[in-house]
Subunit: 227 residues, 2 copies
């Protein structure tokens, strides 16, 4: 059995590196995830990332060869998944019990996810009724680190005439989430694609008897299921 104590020995920063790398690897598929990309994502310099990754390799959290593509070890992945579980449970708590709006939860959950207490997370999960999704529609891994991999269809992948339901959002920035709300959209909203503009990829969608035009960037950040 791998050393379990390592889970509680990591610093907040090491944890954030693991989580960031996990997210990038998830989105990248088979594509390479590199130092610059991770640095950009975390808002720090590539040099800092190089240094930190060096240390994390000796701790067997990250795997990569010099100048090669980055990867997480099994241990690193497991920790990242538990962090994501904690993050999403806290977001759910803030949303359902603390009257936070969905654009407010992320920032505070980014702090709360680093609280060290196995019991607290188990109790929080129980208290919330073992929620399956966070306020952004993202799947919450269970205590064993298992989670459902859903087909990731974005609004951008549909064609004119298609009908769908909004199941989750990719971006968790305040600006994006507030924009979604302001448009009148939310999880479960039913949307129909009206027209796709070839020139810039913008899309005209309709829902609730409204018809609006949204950018390519917008439709890339909305996950849906066809209906």
């Amino acid at each position: 059995m791998p050393n379990k104590s390592i889970h509680t020995k990591l610093t907040k920063n090491e944890e954030d590196y693991l989580k960031a790398l996990f997210h990038l690897l998830s989105e990248a598929g088979d594509n390479k995830v590199g130092t610059n990309q991770l640095a950009e994502y975390m808002g720090i310099s590539p040099a800092s990332v190089s240094g930190m990754l060096k240390k994390m390799k000796t701790k067997d959290l990250v795997a990569s060869e010099r100048y090669g593509k980055l990867d997480l070890t099994e241990e690193g992945t497991a920790i990242a998944v538990q962090l994501i579980r904690k993050h999403r449970l806290w977001e759910t708590f803030l949303y359902t019990h603390m009257n936070f709006t969905w654009d407010e939860v992320h920032e505070v959950a980014e702090q709360l996810e680093h609280i060290k207490s196995t019991k607290l997370i188990a109790e929080l999960d129980k208290f919330l009724g073992h929620p399956k999704r966070d306020p952004h529609g993202a799947v919450i891994p269970n205590a064993e680190g298992e989670y459902q991999l859903l087909p990731k269809i974005t609004l951008a992948q549909l064609e004119a005439g298609d009908r769908c339901r909004l199941v989750s959002v990719k971006d968790s920035s305040v600006a994006f989430l507030q924009y979604v709300s302001r448009l009148g959209l939310a999880l479960s909203s039913e949307i129909q694609i009206r027209e796709i503009e070839a020139f810039d990829g913008s899309v005209t969608i309709s829902f609730d008897n409204k018809e609006i035009n949204v950018s390519k960037k917008f439709v890339d950040n909305v996950f849906v299921e066809k209906i």
Copy 2:
């Protein structure tokens, strides 16, 4: 109005210094609180405390003259009180909603108190029904930093024959709290002093038809009100 932004700029360590100093000053009355004492209380070296206090003086959180007694500024005091408010609200939450025992809450609250979110604390307070006391019987300051100063009578100050009610405990260590529980005592327990041993200050007390002997150290850590 003093710069309010400073509240969110402090590191976890600076916050813990303020809280520690506040507690020592509260207990010290007019007595001097010194560098060694603060170092001992925080479990770090006096040299480290000297260095940190130097920095905190420039931030106008701590006041003292070279080689003189330590004190908090108004700003430092206000921040310390808000930290104590957060700490006690979180302890209450863990106790009332997360099934934590009273000896388990402190360690996790020590982390949670550093979460930066004014809204979260306001909502948590509302959610808990604006509690007045934490699981150890300590008074919870309100959002304005006001709190009731109760007469601090310990079991040690009573005389043989006196009857009292347990209102709070001073020590928040796991060892002490578990010991109290194991004895069958809790907040609101009614206790009578049977006998005080002149030799070592140990006290024979009775409650719930039991009669036991406890040490001087024990009775010094139990706050009561006479009945």
